[in-house]
Amino acid sequence: MSDSEFDVVVIGGGSTGTAVARDCAMRGLRTLLLERDDIASATVGTCAGMISSGLKYRNEPDIMELCSEEVVHFNHIARHIMMKIPILAPLLDLSDAASDSGYIDAYSEHAEEREVPAMMFLTPEATLEIEPMVHPDVIASVYYEEFFIDPFRLSLLQALDAINHGAKVHTYCEVIGFEKTGGEIQGVVFYNRITGTTETVRTKLVVNATGPWAHKLARMNDSKLDLRLNKGTHVILDRRVVNVGITARALDGRWVYLFPHENTTLLGTTALDTWEDPDRLVASFDEIEYLLQSIEAVIPSIRESRIIRTMAGIRPLVPDWKVSEDKVTRGYQIVDHENGMISFTGGKLVMCRHMAQDVTDLVCKKLGVKAICKTHEKPLPGNEDDVDVESLSVEYGISLHTLERMRARRGTDIVKILELTKEHPEWKTTICTCEPVIEAEIRYAIREEFPQTLNDLRRRLRLGTGPCQGTSCTYKAAAILSEELDLEGDDFLVDILDFKAERWKGIRPSMRGEQLAQEELAQGIYTCVGNLDQSDVDYDLKPWEEGA
């Protein structure tokens, strides 16, 4: 394939863009994905990863049906990165119960397809046995089950699968303009942040999958796209503090939740119409307090749990105005600007494959290509088979838990990493102690999954996402990255600063309790010992850093 001529250029490497690139590539289109930063570096990385039944959209039966179908598909193509979470909605007074019967029917309608039970009521005794942290005055609870996915791995696996099917994926390439003839897009101009050069590729069509930036890309193409941008924040707690997911009515009557997620717990989420720059976004004090107070009504002791950080993202909603956020459709729209660009508004993680299917159908139609969608049939990399970590642990002499965590990221591909340890037994060393991540996986990821920075490694490996938030792994991982990518000493330090700054962005807004002790230790290591605050490398403070 030529490196400068494509059938379709997909802009944006979130869940949507990677899904589109995968579908296009699988249908044989010459595909290029351009991502300004890293795969899953924006909205998708701040979401809860719920592959939801669509429960909240009971007024949109077609969306609920679509969600249910997608759950079935993801359980087929990506089961190795999926989890099922049992959920309780504790009811503290009868009016809660009465007002919610609509949800129950709506959820239950497609439950069978998803192989989960219809919603059920539980007694207060049963509720408290399942989750003793629930308020003792609970009068009943509603029980249901939902599926969750690792949104980082999903996006990355979609990108890798696109590459496997012939697509090109360029990260750190920001689209800055379009070459047009007669109002029609002929080429895409982008700035390559790694090489520092501006490049142009020719293409027949462009799919604008830039989430909350979609209107800006449209504008670059002299088109208008309206979006309703809506900020959402999560508070992340250390480890799984609840036995099951908990949902509850927030202070303002919306629903909030406490979901076990991987080895943490997510408390979310807020929904605020926003006009902020997504690149400078941080959680606000009000949001954190709103979430804590809302969940406190049903889990009174929640503040005793350790908060490690926050994360905030912007939902690119369909532009329904003059209604409250929760009345806005959670469906998506495909907007054909009729000038070579097709944009999305709306959508969800759970729908990304479906969005891709729809848009690729349109792309194929426009290009006169006849090819059918197979993205729901073919497994994503690693989901080809079951993995027996117990025998692998014996075979390779690596602890079971290390392998189980690795399996949850990689499925059958785990063996490729383990093979590396045959020649390099020293790569069995644990680098990130919290997740954990061993050196072999870091080296493998650097070689096969095109990361450029420590933050990219974090998205691929969960490096530094545990309770210590990179206190113990950053230097070690940076050394490996520098060796593999042949980085200069200054780049090494800047990368450490970038990584710590990114962690700080989430830690700072919610910092309290036990995390204070953690930060003190981190400070001791990185400033008192590492002298990073005195470093004279060329580093610009981030907008959320002190003194910026």
């Binding site: 539980l122 049963a126 002790a517």
Partner: protein, 412 residues
């Protein structure tokens, strides 16, 4: 589905997702683990890490920041969590008081429920008698033989036999624990000699039953709880004021049970009882009259379950008590408070690890030049005695209760 059927269904999902909900009393443990700041201080103090290396046992830090974070994955820690002896050294040095030994129990309990195939097979030797006889050891088949064995031990040690006392009501319950009940009978007898000597109003249980610690350590929570309940009922019914034990494990476990399940009755080790209830002065005065005091040079081993799970005060008492016995010279071993490797049921499945841990103690004991080692726990006694013997050492080991009883004057 009605609510009961619904609950049954939910239990099924929890089982298939490998979730056993935390009990309210376990939440305290989880909170404690959340405090870990990954400073790594504990690693250098863990005796198992020191003995077998971090590649075999990833150590307390990894238990806190890695292995204990997600209950559905607890099964995958089975190659590590059974190697913790529960000595509590990590917890003692941790700047955040992270309760590693308890989270290990909490994890083991989940593996026991969800992946019994990963529970070390060696544990079933303990589990069988526990569920069948409420004891950690197979009881003697022939009661005659048991008495003969006891008498032989008494004779060898020069201890008198004091009749068993089982009363409906008494001030004190003497609770020997399984090891002293079935194996180290001399310890049980020695305690009776001491209690009898000081005219203590005590009783034994009509039928000895285990405190449940071994069940808890192997993760069999259900058995642990039913044994604890059984004991609680008996203790409550007898209306006793205090439980006195001779075993470090029983002391700490019964104290925990009493705290978490409102027994309202404290448990003390017989050393505490001597120091606090009998009084060191009276003890010393009586000892001064003893005729059985040939000079002896000893060194002392501190059981983890006393110093780290209960209180270091108890071993301070031990030294004070030894000081009150004339002709006893004590030399401190460099490894006096280092775990003997006998804890956490490690020796039941990984003898090599338990023995690697005790090596440090053995070397340090030899260095003291003492002729005897004393320690107030029949389990430590057995573990250290075996390993001293294997290493060809001539140092003899005494349970401290026996050592004291041997030196008491004849009751007159």
């Amino acid at each position: 589905m009605n609510e009961d059927e619904a609950f049954e269904y939910v239990k099924g999902t929890l089982r298939s997702e490998r979730i056993t909900p935390y009990h309210p009393y376990e939440i305290e443990v989880v909170r404690s683990i959340e405090k870990c700041i990954n400073c790594g201080l504990c690693i250098n103090h863990c005796p198992v890490v020191a003995a077998v290396g971090i590649d075999r046992f990833s150590g307390p830090r990894s238990i806190a920041v890695e292995l204990s974070r997600s209950p559905p994955e607890y099964w995958s820690t089975a190659d590590i969590v059974y190697l913790c002896t529960g000595c509590g050294t990590c917890r003692e040095v941790c700047p955040k008081n992270v309760d590693i030994p308890e989270v290990v129990n909490l994890i083991r309990a989940r593996i026991f429920k969800h992946r019994p195939d990963l529970v070390p097979k060696g544990f079933y030797v303990v589990q069988e008698p526990l569920t069948e006889y409420n004891l950690a050891f197979q009881p003697w088949e022939d009661k005659e033989e048991k008495s003969e064995s006891r008498d032989m031990r008494l004779e060898k040690l020069g201890l008198p036999y004091v009749q068993d006392r089982v009363l409906d009501k008494a001030e004190i319950l003497f609770y020997p624990g399984c090891q002293a009940e079935e194996r180290a009978q001399e310890v049980r007898e020695a305690a009776k000699v001491i209690l009898d000597y000081f005219d203590v109003d005590y009783t034994l249980l009509d039928e000895m039953s285990c405190c449940g610690l071994p069940a808890r350590l192997m993760g069999d929570d259900q058995t642990a709880r039913s044994l604890a309940d059984r004991l609680k009922k008996k203790v409550k019914k007898m209306g006793i004021k205090k439980v006195v034990t001779t075993c470090a494990g029983c002391t700490s476990n019964l104290s925990d049970l009493s705290y978490y399940f409102d027994w309202g009755v404290p448990t003390v080790h017989i050393l505490e009882f001597l120091a606090e209830d009998i009084g060191l002065q009276r003890f010393g005065e009586d000892m001064a009259n003893s005729s059985r005091l040939s000079p002896v040079h000893v060194t002392v081993h501190d059981p983890c379950h006393l110093i780290r799970h209960t209180s270091r005060q108890i071993m301070d008492y031990a030294l004070e008590i030894l000081r009150e016995i004339p002709n006893v010279r004590v030399t401190e071993s460099e490894a006096y408070d280092s775990c003997c490797g006998g804890g956490g049921l490690v020796s039941y499945h990984s003898r090599d690890v338990a023995d690697a841990v005790v090596k440090e103690n053995i070397e340090a004991i030899q260095k003291t030049g003492a002729e005897r080692l004393v320690t107030p726990c029949p389990l430590c006694t057995a573990q250290i005695e075996n390993n001293l013997f294997k290493s060809g050492s001539s140092v003899e080991v005494d349970d401290l209760t026996v050592f004291i009883a041997q030196r008491l004057p004849k009751k007159g």
